[in-house]
């Protein structure tokens, strides 16, 4: 998947998480509290538990279970979520839910500052303007708050914003999730990892709630609003929480982790600025069913909500459609490390040569964006080099896909093959090497031209590669000579394969309405039957092939 497609996916996930799931979640929470009379803490405990269960079941058995349970990131996320929830509860006990929702958007400003100072992600002009608009909305509500405890409210709103931001950053930086996101072989790994995270969250919540209920039980007069054991037996709380966990919290958490991993925490926080309008929308839509009303919202709340929405949209949309220049991610200006500059330039120059100046192929082989390659190519002052953190991977890609690869067929070249042969000896007890020399190839070149010859070599390379896809190393040594090294194969087993190889090569090749017939001579040598020296394998197989050629 290309970078832009992935980014678009990340933004769409953020919008769905906030505009759909967060909005519905807020309405569901309000409905449960005001109509079903549920206890909010126990409701959340049950929701987190059922969310964990459905994600773990969906994830199934697989890797990263152990790592997630042991990861400090997981426990940190759980503790932060728990604290942000408690602070949120305290905040909402002083002011209305709408005002609380607006005040906590101070997290957008904090997010911008944190990403700038701690992660060196410099904001652009739209991000700064959008954040100023959002902050204006927050200040408007903060001034309009009528309470004797303004100081406490401001402190709680600030803390709530800090914890919300910390939660989103922890989701972005969660290491097991980042690993799961990269593992294409295991698409359910993300669900599994987030299931385990939510399990930790729910267990922490439940343990805390249980301790509070126990303390309440020991008191002669229990404190109002804190949970008691009776609240655990409120069917409305349990069943509403159970359903909300499966239908709302589970997809919401999956989207939050996945999106923050792609678009980064500060951008996700910006999209959360749209939660105000999302909540109002869903409350309005569901009013006939839930009986909830939005009439309690004051004019100042509406103006502040509108400011926050405009600011959030301005940042989100300009960031979403901003052209991604990944120069800074891959390159740095160097004046001291001349070797690094030379190595970087050589890798690009050789790669372009190898792929006949096809930029897309070079970008794909090195796993470097095309624009980064262009920056190096156009660097007349010779000051740009790959960053240390990227160089190792790029150098490896260069070695495997370019330095050790045959540019015509994509198979290993002689040097790459010899390296792999030496490594194979230490790993495999039995190796069989086939040495192939094509017959009737020269007439093809002479009659139909070099393009036809190249086509034939590419076609034969493909056929050999497909013949033993999981246990062979295939190479073009040069000209019309190929080698196939079969791992863990005895000489007797290998003798049976010779006919197979010949059949694959001798199958007619169609080139521009012409049928080309190619044949091959095959030589075979086995390690350790014929020699105990891996280097000799190639010579022995070569001699064996010439013997067969002479007998033809």
């Amino acid at each position: 998947m290309t970078d832009s497609v992935t980014m678009r996916k990340g933004w769409i996930q953020a919008f769905i998480a906030i505009l759909i799931f967060l909005g519905i979640n807020q309405v569901m929470g309000r409905y449960a509290a005001s109509v079903l009379d549920v206890h909010p803490i126990i409701y959340s405990c049950v929701a987190f538990n059922s969310c964990a269960l459905v994600l773990i079941l969906n994830g199934g058995r697989g890797s990263l279970a152990k790592e997630t349970m042991r990861s400090v990131d997981t426990w940190l996320y759980g503790i932060i979520l728990m604290f942000s929830y408690i602070i949120g509860m305290l905040l909402f006990s002083y002011i209305s839910a709408t005002q609380g929702t607006i005040l906590q958007k101070v997290s957008v400003l904090l997010g911008l500052l944190a990403s700038w100072f701690f992660f060196a992600r410099k904001p652009d002009i739209f991000q700064i303007i959008g954040t100023i608009i959002i902050t204006a909305g927050v200040i408007l509500v903060a001034i309009s708050v009528e309470s004797d405890n303004k100081g406490i409210i401001y402190l709680l709103a600030l803390l709530y914003g800090v914890f919300q931001l910390a939660r989103i950053f922890t989701a972005e930086l969660h290491r097991p999730h980042a690993k799961a996101a990269k593992n294409n072989n295991d698409p359910k790994a993300k669900s599994r990892v987030i299931g385990f995270v939510m399990f930790i969250v729910s267990t922490l919540f439940l343990a805390l709630t249980f301790l509070v209920a126990l303390a309440q039980e020991l008191q002669t007069t229990p404190i109002k609003n804190l949970p008691t054991f009776d609240d655990f037996m409120n069917p409305g709380t349990i069943f509403a929480g159970f359903i909300a966990g499966i239908l709302i919290v589970a997809p919401s958490r999956l989207l939050e982790f996945s999106s923050t991993n792609i678009i980064k925490a500060e951008n996700f926080t910006t999209v959360t600025a749209l939660s105000f309008i999302s909540t109002v929308f869903w409350e309005h839509i569901s009013a006939p069913l839930t009986g909830l009303s939005i009439k309690g919202i004051s004019n100042i709340d509406i103006i502040a909500g509108a400011l926050i929405t405009v600011g959030g949209l301005l940042i989100a949309l300009t960031r979403k459609y901003k052209k991604q220049d990944r120069k800074n991610e891959f390159l740095e200006v160097e004046t001291q490390k001349i070797d690094m500059i030379d190595d970087s330039r050589n890798i690009i120059a050789n790669s372009l040569e190898h792929f006949n100046h096809d930029l897309k192929k070079v970008a794909s082989a090195l796993d470097v964006p095309s624009e980064v390659i262009k920056h190096i190519m156009n660097d007349k002052n010779k000051t740009l080099a790959f960053k240390d953190s990227k160089f190792k991977k790029i150098a490896r890609n260069y070695r495997v896909h370019i330095a050790q690869a045959d540019s015509l067929t994509g198979l290993l070249n002689r040097s790459g093959f010899l390296t792999e042969l030496r490594a194979a000896v230490s790993e495999s007890d039995n190796l069989s090497l086939f040495y192939l020399d094509l017959n009737k190839f020269k007439p093809v070149n002479d009659t139909y031209g070099h393009k036809a010859g190249d086509f034939v070599l590419q076609e034969i390379g493909k056929r050999l590669n497909n013949l033993f896809p999981h246990k062979a190393l295939t190479t073009r040594l040069g000209g019309d000579e190929f080698c196939v090294l079969l791992l863990n194969t005895t000489k007797q087993q290998a003798l049976d394969k010779i006919e197979l190889i010949k059949q694959a090569i001798e199958e007619p090749i169609l080139y521009q309405d012409n049928i080309l017939n190619i044949e091959t001579s095959v030589g075979l040598a086995n390690y350790p039957t014929d020699t105990k020296e891996p280097e000799e394998l190639l010579d022995l197989a070569d001699s064996s092939m010439y013997k067969e050629k002479d007998e033809r």
Partner: protein, 73 residues
Amino acid sequence: MTIEDRRKDSGFDEQHAYKSFNLKQQIDIERRADNLERLIEVQQQKKVYYLTLGFCIFLNVLLLSLGFIGLGG
């Protein structure tokens, strides 16, 4: 094909190993050191998975039971 690719093609299918019910038997007969390590890793991951899943089911059943008790009372 690189050394890492070859390791992947060593006949060891991790996804299949997670689904296997006779992992212990496979561990006993495994000869290759790197495969053995990976089989033991799979066994540990499965253990953590089942323990967590079991505890999670227990908590959910407990909470739902309390809800049903409340419904009856």
